[in-house]
């Protein structure tokens, strides 16, 4: 299995944190691969009852990919912000697959859905939320990012603020409004 050298990820993360936007796009596939791997690893495990936390998973990815000694906590916030985006995709893709699998009757069950595929309804919620979030992004990108970081990335208000370079107060306000908007958006659809 190809492994990603911590050195490379570390460099890219530092570059990105220093404002080099291009580094992000190099970084993304590397982190994505690792998160996918880990997510599948966790999801595949047969231990129902083990709760799976985004932060634990993302943190593991962080620990595996990044040379801690060279990191500042702000770099970490950036990493988590990036991971939130990727986790969103992983979770939503997964929800889609589960939904598809359900629809296909007793078509072959996806091997890693023990933890995740609690119900197809919940999966559908996630997909609907994702769609609504995309729409929100068009109207107000920052609010959608706040939701992405907090809901999909499991970041705290402070971490979110750091990742978006805004104040925690702004994050709280954005969150409040976005939550109401998304809630309405989802309620109207059903």
């Amino acid at each position: 299995m190809a492994t990603t050298s911590p050195h490379k990820v570390t460099e890219l993360l530092l570059d990105w944190s220093n404002g080099n936007q291009a580094a992000l796009d190099r970084l993304m596939p590397l982190v994505d691969r690792e998160l996918h791997r880990l997510a599948h690893h966790y999801m595949r495990r047969e231990n129902a009852g083990h709760t799976l936390q985004t932060t634990a998973l993302v943190n593991e990815a962080y620990l595996r990919l990044v040379d801690q000694k060279r990191m500042h906590w702000k770099n970490r916030a950036h990493f988590f912000a990036l991971s939130a985006q990727l986790m969103r995709r992983i979770l939503v893709d997964h929800a889609r697959k589960c939904k598809y699998a359900k629809r296909g009757g007793d078509a072959q069950r996806i091997s890693f859905d023990e933890v995740m595929a609690v119900s197809s309804e919940r999966g559908a919620d996630l997909i609907a939320l994702d769609d609504a979030l995309e729409k929100l992004a068009v109207i107000d990108l920052r609010k959608s990012r706040v939701v992405e970081l907090r809901f999909f990335g499991g970041l705290s208000v402070e971490e979110t603020a750091e990742a978006l370079s805004v104040s925690p107060l702004t994050v709280k306000r954005d969150w409040k409004m976005a939550k109401a908007w998304l809630y309405n958006s989802l309620s109207n659809e059903t």
Binding site: D15, N18, G19, N20, Q21, A22, A23, D25, R26, P29, N47, A48, G49, H50, T51, L52, Q53, T54, T55, A56, N59, E60, L63, Q68, R70, W73, R76, F80, Q85, M87, R88, L91, V115, V118, S119, R122, L126, L129, E134, A137, V138, I139, D140, V147, R150, F151, F152, G153, G154, L155, E158, E159, K176, M177, K179, A180, W181, L182, Y183, N184
Partner: protein, 916 residues
């Protein structure tokens, strides 16, 4: 929705939320001033806010996981009092832990009370849980120590796994001192009691470690204090595992799985750095965790206190805990030292065994007892005593103690020393604390400079040449200062081993005062080359400075005072000097190349520069202007190869977007590119233009294109556009990740170019990651100038934001009248909306614009494809190819999905030079 409108809603929403129910209606009435729709929108949000409750409050992953936890299967009916399990009769529940519920029970055979730990049925179905349970039992049973709880029996009855444990009438440290985990308001312990607990725990661990058992989960919940005598009992060796038994092929994976389970199930607060990293753990992990407990006992709060688990883990790995003295002023420095040593992140530098920790703790307790005794017996000589202690010399203290004739052995006698007895140590504590802080800062300082040196990596690898300032007092002389900067960029770009930011990005800073560090960050460079040019009469004064932006130091600076006629020579000199300063090893040929100028005619150069300025936005008008200026440049200098390359580039744009007949664009672009190469075979830009030409008009020739583009990169490793063309070419073929990689290289070289930034969105668009694509397109627009693209409209359309898409198109049309791309995009929106008649009307319109050249044929085909008119879509693609009119084509575009599986589409692709 208009941004202003949204902003207004945002404001009103927050203003209204803060008002109570009674005031809201009046407030909104007032604020909306009759705008009913505004009022409705705000009210809807307020209603949403009221109803949303815990909606999305728990992170997505946890929501999913909670579904499992909420599963009734996982809820175990509590055993009723009086019920029996094997020969144990349940008396009362004691609590529940991560591994199951615990009951106080009566052993009816041996007539004693036991703690009965019962694993829920569904837990024992899980092999790993069961295994862990049995491990705990085995490991604990193997130990025989007064501070380790005794296991009586491990059993299985009617499918129920249970474990009978010695019942301790007491409380865990958590219950006793820390309350419910809020940690801060817990009861303050006397220092002596703290030491007693720590010593007994360390003793238990030392014994376990000797037996090869690592606890792995030391925390206040697992340390009990017996009410009767204060005896400490360490519980729950559930995670313990025979250390030497861990050597098998799966060990690393297992350790990681264990850790992940630990992360998930318990608290991370007491986790050692190596545990957090998922590395295999050993006895030293227990030392760490005990260090955390010890810290918490003294300080009243944990050393790595954060609001989320991930932050806790990060601080475990990265942060040093605040000194204990911050929380407890009377902490003996020696205790501070012990805690710091136990909490050393590098386990090699930590206490190597619990025994070592135990020895230090015991010694400290003994010394404090002695000192307390001295104080008690030598009250009149207190001043002298303190002085002796203040030297920090233990020997002195001990000698004084002996001289005072105090018994030093019997520590048990002073068991209940009052806290007051520690107070005398305060001053010395403060002294040592201060020096400790100084040392800590010095260490931190060195650590930082080492870190900084690491980043610096010695040399400058990325440089931006900022436009030189024209200090002649005559704006007409800008061409001179700009020209010098541009030449330096061109010549330095050819240097191997150094990356030079493209002119387009550097020149954003023309005439601007900006902080060096900010500029360097924005451009992603370490080095900035700046300069000033003053011309008076025939004299030319150029001052140049190379600066390391990381620490704002000047790496090199020089003034050149020459005749204007020597300009070329000066430029060559500067380039070579810079190469030397950057410690680049150049071959003779490379050195020579550095001195070369694309043109010696500064006027021609100025026209060229203006022409390139227009190449930034790919509108018809801008591209035509770009061509005009390149032609003017060529009029000035017939042999100006670079201007021909610029011409080729502009024709490619015009033709590929059907701003002129694609056939014409194709012919003129090819001609100009070949002309440029004929004039200068080593001109990277010319190779890039030709390479781009080969993949702009179908049928494509990827082979030749790759060759030309690679050659361009070889000639000028910092030539952003070459990477950009290569990236787009790869994207055409569906090699999206590779394409992205190249586009990102381009963006690194030209970070402020909106065109390149825009093109990085393309692979994402093709991957159908429309969110990310939109983000990048917006970033590009922020870099300016804003430019509505087909892709942006595509993102809106795919998200079914039709109104927004149409509004955006209307806006763009005001500026770009009759732009076929905008007309086409409108058609695509209609098609997606299912407005068939309107879409067909657009097709008519396109046919009208297109005329005989069929330049819009591909667009027509796309709209038909979007309308699911497979036959018509294929027919129009065929027409388009036959007319040589297919410009920008990407096989992965979603619009082709309806005809993708059609054999004829695959055939068409092959004839276009694209592998289906």
């Amino acid at each position: 929705m208009k941004p202003e409108r949204w902003q207004k809603i945002d404001e009103l929403f927050h203003a209204a939320v803060e008002r109570n129910d009674g005031e809201r209606a009046a407030f909104l009435n007032d604020a909306c001033a009759g705008d009913e729709s505004l009022r409705k929108q705000v009210e809807a949000l307020l209603a949403g806010h009221e109803q949303a409750g815990s909606f999305i409050e728990s992170p997505a992953m946890e929501v999913e996981a909670r579904g499992v936890a909420a599963d009734p299967e996982n809820k175990e009916a509590e055993l009723a009092n009086g019920e029996t399990v094997s020969h144990y009769r349940i008396i009362s529940p004691l609590g529940s832990g991560g591994m199951g519920d615990v009951y106080l029970a009566q052993d009816t055979v041996l007539s004693r009370q036991v703690a009965l730990k019962l694993l829920p049925e569904n837990f024992t179905r899980d092999r790993e849980r069961l295994h862990r349970f049995q491990q705990e039992a085995r490991a604990a049973s193997a130990l025989n120590h007064p501070n380790i709880i005794t296991i009586y029996e491990i059993g299985l009855v009617e499918g129920r796994h249970f474990i009978a444990i010695e019942f301790i009438d007491g409380q865990t440290l958590r219950q006793n001192f820390f309350g419910d985990g809020s940690h801060t308001s817990g009861k303050q312990l006397r220092l002596r009691d703290v030491l007693d607990i720590a010593i007994q725990t360390a003793d238990a661990l030392a014994a376990a470690h000797e037996a090869g058992i690592v606890h792995r989960d030391i925390k206040p919940e697992n340390i009990m204090v017996r009410r009767r005598d204060g005896y400490v009992k360490v519980l729950d060796f559930g995670l313990a595992k025979l250390a030497e038994g861990a050597v098998d092929s799966e060990a690393p994976t297992r350790a990681q799985v264990k850790t992940s389970v630990g992360v998930v199930m318990g608290t991370v607060t007491y986790m050692s750095p190596e545990q957090a990293r998922g590395e295999p753990v050993d006895a030293r992990t227990d030392v760490w965790s005990l260090g955390v407990v010890l810290y918490e006992l003294v300080a009243g709060c944990v050393p790595f206190k954060r609001s989320t688990q991930s932050e806790v883990i990060a601080s475990i790995l990265e942060r040093e805990p605040p000194p204990l003295a911050r929380y407890a002023s009377e902490v003996p420095p020696e205790l501070e030292r012990i805690v710091i040593k136990a909490l050393t992140k590098d386990r090699e530098a930590r206490y190597q065994t619990a025994k070592d920790l135990l020895v230090d703790l015991r010694r400290l307790r003994q010394r404090l007892d002695v000192e307390a005794e001295i104080e008690r017996t030598a009250e009149p000589e207190k001043g002298r005593e303190e002085k002796a202690v203040a030297t920090g010399n233990e020997q002195t203290a001990a000698v004084t103690a002996q001289a005072a004739g105090v018994a030093t052995k019997d520590t048990a006698v002073t068991h209940s020393a009052s806290p007051a007895k520690w107070i005398t140590l305060n001053k010395r504590g403060a002294l040592i604390l201060i020096s400790g802080l100084v040392v800590a800062s010095v260490v931190a300082y060195f650590a930082y400079s080492r870190y900084a040196a690491g980043i610096k990596a010695g040399t400058i690898r990325r440089v931006a040449v900022l436009p030189f300032a024209n200090k002649s007092g005559n704006p007409d002389m800008d061409y001179l200062s700009d020209g010098i900067s541009e030449s330096l960029i061109n010549s330095l770009s050819q240097l191997p081993g150094v990356t030079v930011i493209a002119r387009n990005s550097s020149f954003t800073y023309k005439g601007k005062e900006a902080d060096a560090q900010e500029v360097a960050n924005a451009l992603g460079v370490e080095g900035l080359l700046t300069g000033r040019v003053t011309q008076s009469g025939d004299n030319l004064l150029i001052s140049v400075e190379l600066m390391d932006a990381r620490d704002k130091t000047q790496v090199w600076g020089q003034q050149y005072n020459r005749k204007s006629s020597d300009l070329l020579a000066v430029q060559a000199e500067i380039s070579q000097e810079i190469a030397d300063r950057l410690r680049l090893k150049l071959t003779g040929a490379e050195r020579q190349q550095l001195g070369k100028l694309p043109t010696e005619n500064l006027k021609a150069f100025q026209y060229y520069m203006q022409g390139r300025g227009y190449a930034h936005r790919r509108t018809r008008e801008d591209s035509l202007a770009s061509i005009r200026y390149c032609e003017k440049a060529i009029e000035e200098d017939r042999n100006y190869a670079l201007a021909y390359a610029g011409l080729a580039d502009a024709y490619i744009t015009l033709g590929s977007r059907s701003y002129i007949a694609p056939q014409e664009g194709r012919r003129k672009a090819e001609e100009a590119a070949h002309k440029a190469l004929a004039l200068d075979e080593n001109l990277a830009e010319a190779h890039a233009a030709l390479g781009s030409f080969y993949v702009t008009f179908a049928p494509y020739n990827f082979l030749l294109s790759d060759r030309e583009l690679r050659r361009a990169i070889e000639l000028s490793p910092s030539l952003a556009m070459a990477y950009q063309f290569l990236g787009v070419s790869l994207a055409r073929r569906g090699r999206l990740d590779e394409g992205l990689e190249e586009l990102l290289k381009a963006r690194e070289l030209d970070p402020l170019s909106s065109i390149i930034a825009r093109s990085t969105g393309l692979p994402y668009y093709l991957k159908r990651d429309y969110g990310r694509a939109l983000e990048l397109l917006r970033q590009a627009n922020e870099l300016g100038p804003a430019f509505t693209t087909v892709w942006e409209i595509g993102v809106y359309t795919h998200n079914r934001l039709f109104d927004e898409a149409l509004a955006e198109l209307e806006k763009a049309k005001q500026e770009r009248k009759d732009d076929p791309l905008l007309i086409f995009s409108t058609g695509m929106v209609y098609a997606a909306q299912g407005k068939r008649a309107e879409a067909l009307q657009i097709i008519k319109e396109l046919e009208g614009v297109s005329g005989a050249s069929l330049s819009q044929a591909q667009y027509v085909a796309k709209i038909y494809a979007a309308l699911n008119e497979r036959e018509l879509a294929l027919t129009w693609m065929e027409r388009s190819l036959a007319a040589g009119a297919i410009g920008a084509f990407f096989k992965d575009e979603q619009v082709w999905d309806p005809i993708r599986s059609d054999r004829r589409f695959g055939d068409l692709l092959r004839r276009m030079g694209v592998t289906p």
